[in-house]
Assembly symmetry: C2
């Protein structure tokens, strides 16, 4: 027998090996699928493609639940094939995004820690879990690959499981994972994790082998991340963040070890984290969802001593480097379900420093992470809400302008609210930072405009505020003009007032 | 010596007894005061009044931090005297509200579980803690009265403590309180509470007696709650909520014991909870901030077997009844710091059913709890964010219209966001309920309009939505009209479109 069958250590299960096409036949119209995959890592790569193939000759629509975004163009293929009924809790594919915004199918934008709760409590049901694995152990343990996402709860709650064993992923990944399920609400014990490096669960996903209905072999690497390298502005943002953290050390609120770091997906957050390489901070720990290149660069530089994550999503270059030398990272890494990486209990207990990207923010510190012009979905809130609400420090980063200054990231009133003023501690742009903790709205305005807004928009923001101030109020606004910047952009392609057409 | 001195069981401290005026002299201009008091219960009643008196002849401004709202007209007196610089994290007094909205002083609207974290981590400092107590025990334990609020963290972090021993509160309250401090973030153990009735801390606030600089005797009862009795509409709302919970039982997601209940402050939430008296639900538990009349009525009816709270705030009538027969409630009650009553770790672990009041909500399920017309503060977010984000069920209740129909509580776009669509599970009005779990924005609209909006506004809401839908998007909006209802109300005194003046 082919050596690859050694990856299936339960002999009876070896008979379940079929083609991806065969496995896709198990899926029925109207079903809900729970797919492994979190920010392009550890996603299933064959069965979804076979399902799309099947949909060419057959009318089929399914709900697709995942950890977060998928790689391997799976979301693109799903969207193009028109086989999605409902997608959740996160995606990042341009074609899928287009379909969502056209109303071709439904998208539910959920806190990434919430999905597992809704599935476990049977508010949302999963019919089939389709999970990528490096192996199935003799005790029925499924060893995941480069992400865990919601795979544990999908496996627990689904009626059937399809496994894709990815031969391109080394069996050496075994031991990296820590699978802990908190159990039902109301019947739970405290989650016994008090340090970033604590191991609290199992090495894999323990299932009843009878639930495994099909096994497919694949041999395709994860899609590399699409992160762009730090630029001049993100380097400056990293400096502002470092300066803020230095002030916290001076005030005795942090030490040079800082506190466990969380950094959201995306180029800006990655670049800001990367900027810590040149800082005096050391012995750092990371407790985050996704580990991007920056965390491994920080490990290589001896700055990060331990990192807990839910997925590893790297550039092509860094992926080759890390997995070729995996043994040097092994004792510094642990991977958990997203429910645990993003759990409010743990975020609050560990006192994370949380760094996430804002799409736009307003003069009072409310943050829009998801909706362009208040209507069109970008990717989703992801874990930013899980972290910002409960972290020691909820930091949001953004460049102060976009589209060559046609858009100000700082506006009078955000066109969609994902994070309220109650949850936003610090804002960092390339202009500077605003520490909003303990400040009233009227105090926040000054800091945000002076320290974070782009100079080209400061007067215009002040004009809005002073006008609003004549109405009084805890949070002065002029609702007739609150969205005028967005409206001007839609009509005239810029938020600049001098280029505004009088609305009459 | 006067028998009242028996309340001070450390003899050296008996020498610290002075007049309220004397105690107020300890307070210096510019200081930050941490006052006991949560929703009118257990507030200090003499020293604040003496401070206000002193301010008549002396220029003095202080920051006032509390648990939540105060009774005894203290916030009114503070506001009238103009001695406030900054007030946080919650208030509910009309005069103070007016001052806040005029910008006479600053108000920070915080999640009630966050204040203690900010103080403990020295982001916000407290100079003097002023705490109401029934007694000071021989071991230096301060026994609080009818609320705990932030008193533990104020006492731990302040340089000096002033105690008001309230002789109108029976020493028999001793044993009711459970004081647990989670300690510093990053150095914490799990909070060892897995059942509503678990006792995890001390019977009082243990302090170094040397920090107690003054003790004042008072003899004034708490201000009774201003709750209005259930009316026809709140009775119907309670029925809708009961029907929803019954469906959850049918679906196997709850039993007749439901799950620990949290109910926000206010007449509507109280009335809705009160409606459970006539339900089949039994053996109920409550894990909430404030216990209002309804919880004791439910206890009297044999429906509630145990209640954990942070304060007890009752109507005049119920207060007399409960405290005259306190022994019959003693073994069914426990009182905790607001950081623990509102702790995300515990809310999520216990799987609360959380019921809070919305001021307005929009067609996608975003909730405004605080700002009238997006600008003027009512009371504050209170604990609603702590609960809604982490509860098993985040339920928001509101009547569908206000001001005889001039205002629709359901609008196209809320004028302020306190709870995002990500955190709102179920909406209940007198029209019905909308279960939004697992639904995309376009699905939510239908349910909210059909089930919750007042019939007189349904067509107008549909018109907005269908118009917005032509723009497409995950969350269709027309930003030019998003606030048109609010603007119409400001200009014409109604949100009704037929009465709208063309804006031109």
């Amino acid at each position: 027998m082919d050596k690859k069958f050694d990856r299936i250590k339960i002999q009876t299960l070896q008979n379940k090996v079929i083609t991806a096409e065969g496995a896709a036949e198990i899926i029925k119209d109207g079903m809900t699928l729970g797919l492994s995959g979190f920010t392009r890592a550890g996603d299933v790569k064959a069965v979804p493609v076979a399902l799309v193939e099947r949909a060419k000759t057959e009318s089929i629509r399914v709900n697709v639940y995942t950890g977060a975004s998928l790689g391997s163009d799976v979301d693109k293929l799903f969207a193009e094939a028109g086989i999605i009924n409902k997608r959740l809790p996160f995606q990042a594919d341009p074609t899928m995004r287009k379909g969502i915004n056209q109303g071709d199918f439904l998208f539910v934008d959920q806190h990434l820690s919430h999905t597992a709760e809704l599935i476990r409590s049977n508010v949302m049901a999963v019919d089939i879990a389709i999970l990528e694995a490096v192996s199935i152990e003799a005790d029925g343990m499924i060893i995941p690959t480069t992400s865990i996402g919601n795979s544990l709860s999908f496996a627990e709650c689904a009626d059937a499981i399809i496994i894709e064993i990815n031969l391109s992923q080394a069996e050496g990944l075994k031991g990296l994972h820590d699978l802990y399920s908190p159990g039902k609400q109301g019947e739970r014990e405290p989650i016994p994790l008090t340090k970033v490096s604590d191991r609290i669960g199992a090495m894999g996903i323990k299932v009843n082998p009878e639930k495994i209905k099909a096994i497919v072999f694949t041999n395709q690497e994860d899609s590399p991340s699409t992160i762009v390298k730090p630029d001049d502005e993100t380097v400056i943002m990293a400096k502002h963040l470092t300066n803020f953290l230095r002030k916290e050390i001076e005030a005795g609120r942090l030490t040079e070890k800082l506190a466990p770091l969380q950094s959201g997906i995306g180029s800006v957050a990655n670049a800001v984290l990367h900027g810590m390489i040149d800082s005096e901070f050391n012995d750092l720990e990371v407790y985050s969802e996704v580990l991007q290149d920056a965390v491994f660069d920080l490990m290589d530089a001896g700055k990060v001593k331990y990192a807990s994550c839910c997925s590893i999503t790297l550039s092509d270059e860094k992926m080759k480097e890390v997995f070729a030398n995996f043994d040097q990272y092994r004792d510094k890494l642990i991977m958990r379900p997203q429910e645990i990486s993003n759990h409010p209990e743990l975020i609050r207990r560990l006192g994370l420093i949380s760094i996430n990207t804002a799409l736009e923010l307003d003069i009072y510190g409310n943050v829009n992470s998801t909706h362009v012009q208040g209507t069109r979905m970008m990717n989703g809130i992801g874990g930013s809400g899980d972290f910002a609400r409960n972290a020691r420090l909820a930091i949001f980063v953004t460049k102060s302008i976009a589209k060559d200054g046609k858009i100000s990231s700082i506006v009078p009133f955000v066109s969609h609210v994902d994070h309220t003023e109650h949850d936003v501690d610090v804002i960092v742009t390339e202009q500077g930072y605003a520490d909003l903790r303990g400040l009233a709205p009227r105090e926040r305005v000054e800091l945000i405009i002076e320290n974070c807004a782009h100079p080209m928009y400061r007067d215009q923001l002040r004009d809005y505020y002073y006008d609003a101030l004549t109405n009084g109020g805890q949070t002065p606004h002029n609702l007739e003009k609150a969205f005028s910047w967005h409206i001007n952009f839609m009509k005239n392609g810029t938020m600049m007032q001098s280029e505004m057409v009088e609305s009459n």
